[in-house]
Symmetry: D2
Subunit: 333 residues, 4 copies
């Protein structure tokens, strides 16, 4: 088999959880995991990520109203470590005409905007001054997003900036099910291969909080994840399902991920042949080389993305509104 | 009858044709009128307008494709006096959620944007560098539009700025049927009573062309216009329809405006009583005082506004595209 | 002055309150009026309306949340006289692309639909079986709306049909501020001059409730209303504002409609001349003849129609949902 | 390795090209392939498809305007075998709120509707009578789509019905790049696992043409396709890239699909181990069993779906318009 050259392989992810290996996840509620990380300068370089604080929330469902409220509670408690009720500019990145990219703009549409009230001296207690902005995408506006934002921050001079964006993931199971919060800023479009200038406290001169949710994943990741799952299922079945009892359980109903049975190296080579001799990153690189020349390394998004993005935007906006305007939270009690 | 106090009466119009009386209109094509005006400093003060060049195009219909193309031809020839094919920032003012206000944003959506091509050195001959921006409205963004625009002009440094906005008219017959082009800039929302800072070459530091089309009119104007028409019809009928022949013509089919029969002062008082003794501006003031305390001096818009705004936006955008990018025009030939 | 021929004048209204004169309004809450009418066959013919029950709710504001809830309470209590929690087909008439016409479709979009649950036998207690339909307009679909509805009723066989539509009013002050409920059905587009076949219990074979809100008014009505107000204000000022005290009150702040001061016939002729000798309907006919030949008898809608229609649709949908699915109401308690 | 049970595996495809093996494709223009098939009763049963005529058009790109026009020419010539310029009802299936499902409704929005002109006797020569309908989806309307359509056909009695729908594919490379035309009708949602009653000439009583384009694909297919490509690339490289010359060509730029190098059985087992011993359908079944229990056998759609669906709808609508109304085609000449 030909040599795998990892140098050229572009890692398509915006998620710290996919760039750093030794992350400690804590299950804070049933099915909701939170991990906090301070990425040191040294480590940051290795992972191609910027140094700073990263909080990641992982969940499985927000379509159910009870689950939604549980995730919202966790999200608000995480956000409180990063932002306060003070003069804030909220920015929704992304193309409003593209459903998987519309998370930022849709969140912005639900933010309670008050700064014009402050201008009239009629901002009530319990509300902070907020303004919002949807810069669109450079391909449609012709304007460099980071420059536009710099100008606007200069003229509005907020105490903090909050940027919301749809991200790219490199694993299927994180799409629409992970929220990443970081004080390191964001490089819009970096996850899907478009390099733009960064949006961060360095470039804007005020604290910048970036909130992102992956809504797309590339085909390569879908494939390599499935290969990984195949081996996990194989190992799980080898360990548990050889007994008589387990035979009764239809295989398609067992969530083999709940038990993290280690995959045996020999099994991997037996089941997957030469493919099984490769490391995960090498497998990704291989599939990248298979799909790219024929034009099939698409970024894909779940079929239900319209409804999911709507719900996620509501989750972010309602949480942000209640933190920036504590009065809104009280009035619900 | 009580005294009419004209001091408090706010003239709700953005149109120069409604502020200046001695405008010379020229019928350039059947049913299409153009007037050019250089408003001197002195006169400007009187009319509460800014000094500079104003071109007004009036037409009756653009739903018919032939009429559309005739109006477009006239519009393009007028625009060519103001703008050139060079680095341009186009700005669509107005609230995207409000149909009568969406003219600017909808026009922007059809502009051919090229500045990112210039950045890559791949801007073809026959195309100029264009970028676009939709600032939204202060009530929704919390940001002061003129400040935001200043920042963006500073960072993009265009050679010229073109601002497109929906205007307010004070006559029913101009709504959606007049295009005003001026190099004096614009004060967004000034026509409907919201004072915002001006957008002009003074504030932005580069030539600013403002293109506006009235899409709303206030109820007072609808009423006072109708009173004026009533007298014009009366005078027309008195002159022409007393003969036997004309009796055959149903009155509802005669366009009495085509013949500008002067209204006799005595007739006016006979037909309208005390109301007929008032000047046009006094009548407006009177109706303003009648409708305002009961909350009915609404700004209104024609029922078909969704379709009309769509067509007008296409008229503006296609004209601007062909002037800014002459290649587009050639390729159609 | 020429003779006014009332025979040709088309009354542009869908509202019973504008067709019948002796309606008894009752103020059920501050600023909210309800009138109930059973229109007898004989009277029906005179007013060009169909015989049956009409309930009209008039209010002044629903933008304030407290007012919204008050109006909703009244609306629900009125609706309960007409509909029950049983198998229902809800129909939203109107063109989705035209803002003033979108009330029906927008209401439908918020209805809780359950009939497919019933098909699976999983309809909970406290919910009734509901289905919805947006037929569009004949000009866009090419299908005759009443025929399509007949077919669908035949195949779904509901116990009752509820039709929601935007109406035309002939008075400025009712636009977006009146809800008409009737068991006589509806003739879509009849208010704006498009004759289509009727939608009623006669044509559909099941009880049909029509709920309508006027969103447009014609220019003639705006003008004739203003003339009426002018005289009311004149009479009010004559009676009350001659005293020293009232001079302090700026005239533009007095709501002269609160006191229904009768208009003196002589005053009317003095103030309005020959115009003042005409009856209200004759004045309308006159303005109709003035505006029609020059193409200015437009139907107009308030500038804020996008926001108002949104709120009205929410008012109707939330009320209907809670009546059709009583469980929804309980769960809020 | 455990036994693969193919009985339970649901084939998620609406495409005949994925159900029938011996299809003859003909390259009618560069990069555009057409296949015609008459599926006999006997074969139909085997492939779970209905007997009748199937035409499939495959292409690689329609974003380029020249390619668009080439594909349109082919599409129109195929459509002409199925439909004529006569009284037609066009139906756009699918959920308007879901981007990958909006192909049908968006196509309908561009159809030139004329049946109301016919009613007025003013249908010009060169135009046929057309009406359109967007039934929505049962989950949102509560109405059974096939029943609603039956009712409407009964009341409109068209000569032919054309149904447009977004389909599901089971291969990545057909998504948004295949048009299937069939006179066998359609079972809406069957491709994504929702069983609804069929829409066909049997149920509607008039000829029914179904036009579909796949917009979604399931994760299982993405993975199994990639495995297939891996082996094709391996075989290609083994045959061609061992020579000195070909070493200069970067592997990621060679389209190995152009040469259909047969995959050696031994190679497959060497490269893929036990996985390599399975047939394609068995591999799909295996991945189905791997992804389903952990909830990751998602249906996915390309990230750019908003823009692609827009273009495809325009392709279908403009082709249908020109066939149903030949005058439109002439007037372009």
């Amino acid at each position: 088999m030909r040599e795998i050259d990892l140098k050229n392989f572009k890692i398509r992810t915006d998620l710290i959880t996919e760039s750093v290996t030794n992350l400690k996840r804590k299950e804070v509620k049933e099915g909701i995991f939170v991990s906090n990380l301070y990425l040191e300068e040294k480590e940051a370089k290795k992972s191609l990520k910027k140094p700073g604080n990263y909080t990641t929330i992982e969940f499985t469902d927000i379509t159910d109203i009870d689950n939604f409220l549980e995730v919202k509670k966790v999200l608000k408690s995480c956000l409180k470590d990063f932002i306060q009720s003070k003069k804030t500019l909220l920015i929704g990145l992304g193309n409003q005409k593209s459903t998987p990219d519309v998370l930022g703009p849709k969140t912005i549409d639900e933010i309670v905007v008050t700064s014009y009230l402050e201008a009239f001296g009629s901002l009530e207690e319990g509300f902070s001054s907020t303004a919002v902005f949807k810069p669109g995408v450079t391909g449609e506006t012709g304007l460099e997003t980071s420059n536009v934002l710099k100008s606007i921050v200069t003229s509005f001079h907020p105490d903090q900036v909050i940027v919301i964006d749809a991200l790219a993931s490199k694993s299927l199971d994180r799409v629409c099910k992970t929220i990443q919060i970081t004080d390191t800023g964001i490089e819009p479009g970096s996850g899907v291969g478009n390099k733009r200038s960064e949006i961060s406290s360095h470039t804007l001169g005020v604290p910048v909080l970036a909130i992102g949710i992956p809504t797309v994943v590339d085909a390569v990741s879908v494939v390599s994840d499935t290969i990984t799952y195949l081996m996990k299922q194989y190992s799980f079945q080898k360990k548990f399902l050889q007994t008589k009892k387990s035979k009764l359980v239809p295989t398609t109903q067992v969530n083999y991920l709940k038990e993290d049975v280690p995959v045996d190296k020999e099994d991997k080579e037996k089941v997957l042949g030469m493919l099984g001799t490769l490391e995960e990153e090498e497998i990704k690189q291989l599939f990248y080389e298979v799909l790219t020349p024929i034009g099939y390394n698409l970024m894909v998004t779940p079929k239900e993305i319209d409804f999911t993005v709507q719900k996620l935007a509501h989750l972010l906006a309602s949480s942000l509104n209640e933190i920036l305007h504590p009065k809104l939270e009280e009035s619900k009690e």
